[in-house]
Amino acid sequence: MKPVRQPAGRLPVSMSVNGRPVELTVDARRLLVDVLREDLGLTGTHIGCEQGSCGACTVLVEGRPVRSCIMLGVQADGCDVTTVEGITPEDGLNPMQQAFREHHGLQCGFCTPGFLTTLAGVTADEYPDEESVRELLSGNLCRCTGYEGIVDAVMAAWGRDR
């Protein structure tokens, strides 16, 4: 018989998700993305690779973009976590979301929450021109748009001409 991998025990986690306090007990090996999607029902965060390379699972942890497929749920203990649901206003869309809609920055929309959270975690000044914007976006893969609409949307939302 092959050796059975023994999953480590369950641990309590308390964090703030989209501004609401959350307390739960999770398996030590459980990925943050699964905690968010399966345990908390926040299915706007998507899984495109589980290898840390596509960016679809990006959420904000303490305001910084993080890949929730390569972070454990327990590592988010005590943290502020924000998902795409958390950056969406109660009514309507935020300015970046509106720019994506206006500039056709999405087709199937599977990658979109990852782009939006990545963008929500940075400031425009850090990326002064199109080249640096493309550099920023290059951490997220999109298979539909060819990135044109996404770059257009970012430039427009950040008040720049293209």
Binding site: T88, F100, R101, Q107, R143
Partner: protein
């Protein structure tokens, strides 16, 4: 009912965007049902082996495991029918029976309380596999002593059509010939959402959620494989995160997961991981075209002949992975007047993941070969590369034109699009040359190519079973809003928005009064789904017919209510008026209320209700090729010319696309933003395939590209800015004159970039670029060998 403002061609926001932007969309992985179990597959670690035994006892011993199964357990499951009588039968079965033919073939499945436990248990499955020699390439598979993938066959050939067209052969006599062997590498659609299936069996009915491009075909296939009638199966394609043809295959997992739900009496879900995706979702391309042209001294092509050789992988894929090779042959002469062709097909089984569909479906391969041959002929005859195309391109006076491949080109802007692209590309090259003149390491070049693409195709050539129709049902609610349900379904193209505009147009209501229903076999009429750049055409054809029935009735009711003649009724923004009688009007709500509720107010002879269903088969499509493989397999043909401006770093071999130009004609443009998005997105995928993407295997048949670290998708830094020009030559036979735009973009990049790289390196005398991807090491090896060849020559000359 004319002369009102039109929704066609208007810039309108997509109706699907709000839910996709806010995290409110529902993909298969978001389907959650009480008591749902997760499945994990044990897949073959070997490229070719006999299965001696499979032991699942240890897996079953883990807590949380509900079951572990192999093919032996699936006694009530039938293999996929083999429809195509010209191909050797492969009898695809959901789990491997007796033999595995590629790394990734599913051998066993384990179901547990959650995904983590399912994967733990899967890792405890052990199989006794007796390794067999693999055949990893076409050459190996065709060798006299090749290992046979299907021992009941005499060789590894799945299908072949040897074509000898005597007219084509005669055209070669006494003419200059140019030939080459052109290979488009193995890559795939790779949508960001992997495959996934969830299923529930309840009250004698099976409900299956699957990330598919064709829910009705999936349901029919399920009824062939499982002991259920179609009426007891409901297939739902929820939001689909990209398809690109990968999800226009019916996969074995789409049988296994529903079977498990029935067997276990619990809902079961399987969400593919990326490694699985790269080894078990269909691969594509891997097509070699041996092509030879007979050319007159002035550059006019007179005939082409040759062979399309498809490395099919293990062949366990349905619809058939060899179909793109036939599609390539049926459009090989492209937009050129080439009077004769004779091109055969051979598709060979190898021990790799089975090939299937990918956006473009054979046409990128055909165009790569044809355009490379054009460049070669031009160089050989000393004609400028753009000029040789001018001499062969179809002109307006040629149309309609039946190509020697069989395609009936009914309309188009072949020359205009070409000249526009050529001009813009030259200007772009000049700009970039000025900008990068200071850099000694890079050389610049440009290439311009031209092609047609058949859209709205016959599915018979692909499936051996289904043909080409689709359906639409229009239902007016009492409040005057419309429910429009269609057999096509979306995987992100914006189909909901397209059909919303067309329905609003046809029914005279506002866009916000239309609700499109798709992707659910219980709620939509039968249709073949979304692939082949067909959806807008087939759905709108059916929509137009259904809407005509509804509008005829509505007009009569409105006329009756206003005591006017039906001939004088007009409709706009949900309101019916009488021509020439200002002030007289009734709303769609009034009319639909009469039809649905107050039927006592109906005019005499008009029956209650306000709905109609219509099916539409696009005209002119042929389903069987003639003896020379010729076929007008598509309802109409788009055209485009692409221009690439590239820089090549001669020190590293790295190719950068600096700017990309496209002049594109897909007939009437219904939504300009969506069309541009399709074209640009397709080009980006085409650039990926041209420069980066390769599903690599080692010599023993082990897949080497199993993550995004070794399968390189283009990112925002590799995709250049694009210049897009639209021409609109409406398709005479299509509703609204539209031609599909979904696939065209992907076709041009490989030949345009190859041509541009050659131009950039022309003074080095590098060898011809004959295959993709054109990676940096490949370019570097061309440069190095040309440099060393040059040195050799110098040495020899100085001796």
């Amino acid at each position: 009912m004319t002369s009102r403002p039109s929704h066609i061609g208007a810039h309108v926001a997509r109706v699907e965007d709000d839910r996709l932007l806010s995290g409110g969309a529902r993909f298969v992985a978001d389907v959650s049902l009480p008591g749902m179990l997760d499945a994990a597959f044990y897949r073959s670690p070997l490229p070719h082996a006999l299965i001696e035994s499979v032991d699942t006892a240890d897996a079953m011993g883990l807590p949380g495991v509900a079951g572990a199964f192999t093919a032996d357990d699936m006694t009530d499951v039938s293999p996929f029918p083999d429809f195509d009588r010209n191909a050797r039968p492969v009898a695809i079965f959901p789990l491997a029976r007796g033999r595995v033919r590629y790394v990734g073939a599913p051998i066993a499945v384990v179901v547990a309380h959650d995904r983590y436990e399912a994967e733990d248990a899967r890792d405890l499955v052990s199989a006794e596999l007796e390794p067999l020699d693999p055949a990893v390439s076409v050459d190996e598979a065709l060798a006299a002593d090749a290992p046979l993938l299907y021992p009941e066959w005499p060789d590894n050939i799945v299908i072949q059509s040897a074509v000898t067209n005597p007219d084509a052969m005669a055209a070669f006599e006494g003419r200059t010939t140019v030939s080459g062997r052109y290979q488009v590498g193995r890559h795939a659609g790779v949508p960001m959402e992997t495959r996934g299936v969830a299923a529930e069996y309840r009250d004698g009915r099976l409900t299956v959620w699957t990330s598919t491009q064709f829910p009705h075909i999936a349901r029919t296939m399920l009824s062939y494989c499982l002991p259920l009638d179609e009426t007891d199966i409901r297939v739902i394609a929820p939001d689909v995160g990209g398809g690109f043809g990968v999800k226009a295959e019916f996969y074995t997992e789409e049988v296994t997961i529903p079977w498990l739900a029935m067997r276990l009496g619990r809902p079961v879900r399987w969400i593919e991981d990326r490694r699985e995706h790269l080894i078990s979702a269909c691969h594509a391309r891997d097509l070699t075209l041996d092509l030879e042209a007979a050319v007159d001294g002035d550059g006019r092509f007179r005939a082409v002949r040759g062979m399309a050789i498809q490395d099919l992988g293990a062949a366990e894929m349905y619809p058939y992975g060899f179909s793109p090779a036939f599609a390539a042959v049926s459009q090989i002469t492209g937009p050129y007047r080439i009077p004769h062709q004779s091109v055969g097909v051979i598709a060979v089984a190898t021990n790799k993941t089975p090939c299937g569909a990918y956006r473009g479906f054979g046409i990128p391969e055909a165009v790569f070969a044809m355009e490379r041959l054009m460049d070669k002929a031009a160089d050989r005859l000393g004609i400028e590369r753009r000029e040789i195309r001018r001499r062969n391109l179809l002109g307006p006076d040629d149309l309609p034109y039946r190509t020697s491949s069989g395609a009936i080109v009914d309309s188009g802007s072949h020359r205009q699009a070409f000249e526009e692209t050529a001009r813009l590309t030259s200007e772009s090259l000049d700009r970039w040359q000025a900008r990068l003149a200071h850099d000694p390491h890079v050389r610049l070049g440009s290439g311009v190519v031209s092609y047609i693409e058949g859209v709205t195709p016959s599915y018979f050539a692909t499936s051996g079973h289904w043909t080409s129709f689709d359906s639409c049902s229009v239902r007016m609610n009492p409040d005057g809003t419309a429910v429009v349900s269609v057999g096509v379904s979306t995987s992100g193209q914006g189909l909901e928005s397209m059909l919303t505009s067309l329905a609003a147009e046809a029914l005279g209501v506002g866009r916000d009064q239309v609700r499109i229903v798709m992707g659910d076999t219980d709620r939509t009429p039968y249709g073949l789904g979304s692939w082949g750049s067909r959806s807008t055409n087939v759905a709108s054809g059916a929509l137009r017919e259904a809407a005509d029935v509804v509008m005829d009735k509505a007009t009569r009711i409105a006329a009756h209510l206003m005591e006017a003649s039906p001939d004088d009724i007009t409709v706009q923004d949900g309101r019916f008026s009488v021509r020439g009688t200002p002030g007289a009007s009734v709303t769609w709500r009034d009319v639909a209320t009469v039809a649905n509720i107050r039927t006592i107010d109906l005019p005499e002879g008009v029956k209650p209700g306000m709905q109609a269903t219509a099916s539409y088969e696009p005209p002119g499509i042929e389903h069987h090729p003639d003896e020379f493989g010729r076929l007008n397999g598509c309802a109409t043909y788009t055209n485009a010319s692409h221009g690439a401006v590239v820089s090549v770093d001669v020190g590293t071999g790295k190719v950068r696309v600096l700017e990309y130009i496209v002049a594109h004609d897909c007939g009437t443009v219904i939504n300009p933003q969506i069309v541009r998005g399709q074209v640009v997105g397709g080009i980006a995928q085409g650039i990926g395939g041209a420069l980066l993407e390769k599903l690599h295997y080692d010599e023993w048949g082990n897949p080497m590209s199993t993550s995004f670290l070794d399968y390189h998708l283009p990112t925002a830094t590799e995709i250049p800015n694009m210049v897009v020009r639209h021409f609109q030559s409406p398709a005479p036979a299509m509703p609204w004159g539209a031609k599909g735009s979904g696939e065209a973009g992907i076709i041009g990049p490989a030949p345009a970039i190859a041509s541009a790289v050659e131009e950039a390196l022309s003074d080095l005398g590098v060898a011809e670029i004959t295959r993709t991807p054109i990676t940096a090491p490949h370019v570097l090896s061309l440069v190095t060998s040309s440099v060393s060849a040059g040195r050799r020559e110098e040495r020899e000359n100085s001796r």
